[in-house]
């Protein structure tokens, strides 16, 4: 991590406590979040910007920076550690603050190049993710950490790796770090497509107290309060949010209340720093379900209608975490202990009466867990150019989960799952970072992950099943500096996805009414992915930066647990090839135009058939304007290519234009966000499966196109009062 002082006076930075700038509040977003202080002398690709209402004082030299406290409107110098991967990217608070379609923290994932989100329900329900040729469903191939804590829920009843990021408040997300592919040893379970890290905090320019209110055209009300005293560390704040939205159509209502706070309890050269994070979150959301294209074409249901209006659910999360960082001689230790309570329930029906012609196919899901975890990482230079990193992590979960088919009054028709689960995840890693010359950076190492499951099946007389699985994953990368502006990258890594707890019952609990020749499925196991990446990056002095990354991922026999038939499906070998291109042009310090393009081809190797779901083309054109006068604006045009669906069907292509603008003068800021500015009629999610909604029609089990309508034009007006 580079600090402004480190940039201007490297010696000062080395003398300071790790993670703390000599200036206290001016640490910048760094490429690897809370990593040890990195020498700034190699930070040639420094980006510099001026926040809203700030006065450029960048010309001030080291002496000025070290003598004066940070002024009210300060220049913020973001010094980023040079990327070690071609596709590595950090999205800072400036970009976040002007990003359009910023309804919730979940939406911030849209800022990650190459990520496609698809919302099945209303705000509060986890979204479907696509990245690098993976249909990661609710998070099964994308690892997400918030303030260092893993958020993917390994065994969520609704989907493996389920991600719900709505407990964060967008105003306190300081940076989003993206490492695509599984190339670094600190990337754990689910990182087959990549790892996304959210760091929380409030940058110096935005510190103080602010109160915001947002009114949207969908009868949306959102209030937010952020209190981040300037005298406290950058990571310290407390924030509250309340939101209610009637939604653009039936089944899209959403409401939530969120509180999140982080405070530095101890900041001592001898004892290190101790940060406390606490969050509480409650949300209710609707779930419209998917519509059969044929039914909409026949006029049986509106384009954005619903078949049944009782879909939806609630989500609760409480988190607390303590992070301790300390320098131990030349080394640095970081450890974190955390605990979490989580509740998720949901009612949905995607298939109508296909399964049960009388009571219908409504499914009620309940998932609840307590978890505790511990992480530790120690870094120490062995010699000047060689740094050793060792780390470990453990998380234990105590889970109850149910899945039941229910009737229109939500009475029980048939229990599908009723489990009590004890689950432990542990990992250890070790690696070396070697910089033999100024132009070469090498990293290599390995991690070992272990998963232990203890599942009690209440529907089968409390039958107990235990399983322990483990796997080692090597990672290696190299970054070459070619001159002052060019860098070349290459990396290899093995990713992993551990099975969810239910899957260890597969083939063990055979229903009594099933004939003996029933397929029992594959053995639950951790399946690996092997990925490589090569790329190049040009970092101009001021006006231009660009990068290209080519990637490939192979999975030999992916294991997918089908939670309806309760078997582990083993799929044929797949490979994903692709290329990512990004170009950023900065004609002035307050204007950036960025183009991100991702082309991906996901195929089954033997048949050549497309892997369903993965988008072959994603393009995002982004304009970010943050003018010193206080005016800021953002525009984003996203183009999504047709996705292959099962059985040879294809989804529609679409293009969406989202806009935002704001103006701050003194303590008052006014803003407007326009989603889907062209009012495009689009299908946010498209699927190919069988349903039977109109019982007057003959029942058919043939799959057909279904979709979930995307939001039409929506406008949100926001006003924020700053008390600095």
């Amino acid at each position: 991590m580079c600090t402004i002082a480190a940039l201007l006076a490297p010696g000062l930075a080395r003398a300071a406590a790790p993670g703390t700038s000599p200036l206290g509040q001016v640490d910048s977003g760094a490429a690897e979040g809370s990593k040890p202080v990195e020498s700034a002398t190699d930070g040639s690709d420094l980006s510099r910007h001026v926040g809203a209402g700030e006065t450029p004082v960048a010309a001030a030299g080291p002496r000025l920076a070290s003598r004066r406290p940070v002024p009210r409107y300060a220049t913020v110098v973001n010094a980023r550690r040079p990327p070690v991967l071609a596709s590595q990217r950090v999205i800072d608070s400036r970009e976040i603050s002007v990003a359009p379609r910023r309804r919730s923290a979940d939406d911030l994932l849209r800022l990650v190049p190459g990520v496609l989100l698809s919302q099945h329900g209303a705000e509060g329900k986890g979204q479907q993710l696509f990245l690098r040729g993976f249909d990661a469903a609710h998070g099964s191939d994308v690892e997400v950490l918030v303030a260092g804590m893993p958020i993917n829920e390994l065994s969520n009843i609704h989907g493996q790796g389920y991600l719900d990021l709505n407990f964060m408040i967008p105003e306190v997300v300081r940076s989003i770090s993206v490492s695509k592919g599984p190339f670094q040893i600190n990337q754990g379970n689910f990182a087959n497509a990549g790892t996304i890290r959210f760091e929380l905090g409030v940058d110096p320019a935005a510190r103080g107290t602010r109160v915001g209110y947002e009114l949207g055209s969908t009868i949306r009300h959102r209030g937010v309060v952020v209190h981040a005293p300037r005298r406290l560390h950058r990571d310290s704040f407390v924030a509250f949010e309340a939101m209610r939205d009637e939604g653009f159509a039936p089944g899209r209502k959403a409401q939530r209340v969120t509180s999140i706070g982080q405070v530095r309890l101890v900041d001592s050269p001898s004892h290190g720093s101790l940060d406390l994070l606490a969050s509480g979150y409650y949300a209710r959301f609707g779930s419209p379900g998917a519509l059969a294209v044929a039914d909409v074409a026949d006029g049986r249901v509106p384009f954005d209608g619903v078949y049944q209006s009782d879909g939806g659910g609630s989500s609760v999360r409480a988190i607390t975490s303590l992070r301790h960082q300390i320098s131990l001689g030349r080394g640095r230790l970081e450890q974190r202990v955390y605990g979490q309570f989580r509740h998720f329930d949901m009612l949905e029906n995607f298939t109508g009466y296909l399964q049960d012609a009388v009571d219908g196919d409504r499914r009620a899901q309940l998932h609840r867990f307590f978890s505790a975890g511990y992480q530790v990482e120690y870094q120490r230079p062995i010699v000047d150019a060689l740094t050793l990193t060792v780390g470990g992590a453990w998380q234990g979960d105590s889970i109850t989960q149910q899945d039941r088919r229910v009737d229109a009054e939500h009475g029980l028709v048939q229990p599908n799952w009723d489990l009590r689960i004890g689950q432990n995840q542990a990992g250890a890693r070790a690696g070396l970072r070697w910089k033999p010359t100024r132009w070469l950076h090498l990293e290599g190492g390995a991690r070992v992950d272990m998963f232990a499951y203890d599942v009690i099946d209440e529907l089968h007389a409390g039958e107990r099943t235990r399983k322990v699985l483990g796997r080692a994953s090597p990672r290696v990368l190299a970054a070459f500096r070619v001159g002052e502006r060019w860098s070349l990258f290459t990396a290899y890594g093995r990713g992993l996805r551990a099975p969810e707890a239910r899957s260890i019952l597969a083939g063990v609990t055979t229903p009594s009414d099933v004939t003996l020749d029933r397929y029992k499925g594959g053995t639950p196991r951790i399946f690996p992915s092997d990925a490589i990446e090569v790329g190049a990056r040009f970092t101009g002095r001021r006006y231009l930066s660009a990068g290209v990354a080519a990637f490939a991922t192979w999975i030999d026999r992916e294991l997918v647990f089908d939670h309806v038939s309760a078997v582990n499906l083993e799929l044929n070998r797949t490979r994903r090839l692709g290329v990512e291109i990004d170009v950023a042009v900065r004609p002035t310090q307050w204007l950036e135009l960025r183009q991100d393009l991702t082309l991906a081809q996901a195929r089954f190797v033997a048949s050549g058939a497309a892997v369903p779901g993965a988008p072959p083309l994603l393009s995002a054109t982004t304009l970010t304007l943050v003018h010193p006068s206080g005016f800021r604006a953002g525009a984003r045009l996203q183009v999504v290519g047709a996705r292959p669906l099962p059985h040879g069907a294809r989804s529609a292509t679409y293009a969406l234009l989202d806009l935002s603008a704001g103006y701050r003068r003194g303590p008052l800021e006014l803003g407007v966000q326009v989603d889907n500015a062209t009012n495009a009629r689009w299908k946010e999610g498209e699927y190919h499966f069988a349903s039977w909604w109109n019982r007057d029609d003959p029942r058919s089990t043939l799959p057909s196109l279904h979709y979930i309508a995307g939001p039409p034009l929506a406008v949100r007006l926001a006003t924020t009062l700053y008390f600095m």
């Binding site: 249909d135 399964q355 495009a680």
Partner: protein
Amino acid sequence: MRHVPKTILLLLAACAPSQEAERVHLEVAVSGAALAASTNDLGWTVELTGARVAVADLQFSILGEMHGASAWLPSWLLARAWAHPGHYAGGDVTGELGGDFILDWGGGGGPLGAAELLTGLYEGLNFTFRAAAASDGLAADDPLLGHTAHFTGTARKGADALSFMAQLDVGAGTQMVGAPFELEVTRDDQATLALRFFPGDPVAGTSLFDGVDFAALDPDGDGVVVIAPGDEAHNIVRRELQSHVHYDAIAE
């Protein structure tokens, strides 16, 4: 810069619509071509003169990209159609001929109707057993009426020759899953799908009547055997009848 709005508009207008999977309609018929004599494990050679089974809802399934080592007997295929949309679906029921049918292999067969199939590489055939009803066009004294299957024929062992009649009841909703149906269905296909019944498993050499000692079922020695619900022999044959090994579908 003046071209930028035009470019954006072109991009916005370039949205291509969704595309449904290709569908074809293929005639389905019953074929008695495989109704050959079979010998059971007790040495009885059974020759069927009548073989009728009441079924509903023929389904044709693909395995998709299931790994070859595990891709067999996909009774989970229908269930996958109910999985949460958006999650990966590797195999599915993608062809069907809905309705109630009497599969009459002894009567020489005949057309059942036109099945609708998505194009793809098919591997399996399923159907659901049911009880025959008057709505099937059966006479009031038809021995199949109210039952699932009716077989007539002769069982021979050495010098013994016994004629037999079997009425079988299979629980409503019971499925036969995973009978072979190996065919790549393409957009221009015009084949007729022939449903065949194998009294003897052509692969394993087993018989529909394995375990049935016909002589023991003729205590009065009149040379006529009746297998009916409630008999031990009924339960033996019923179980075998549900096995996929006795059926297949081929393109003709």
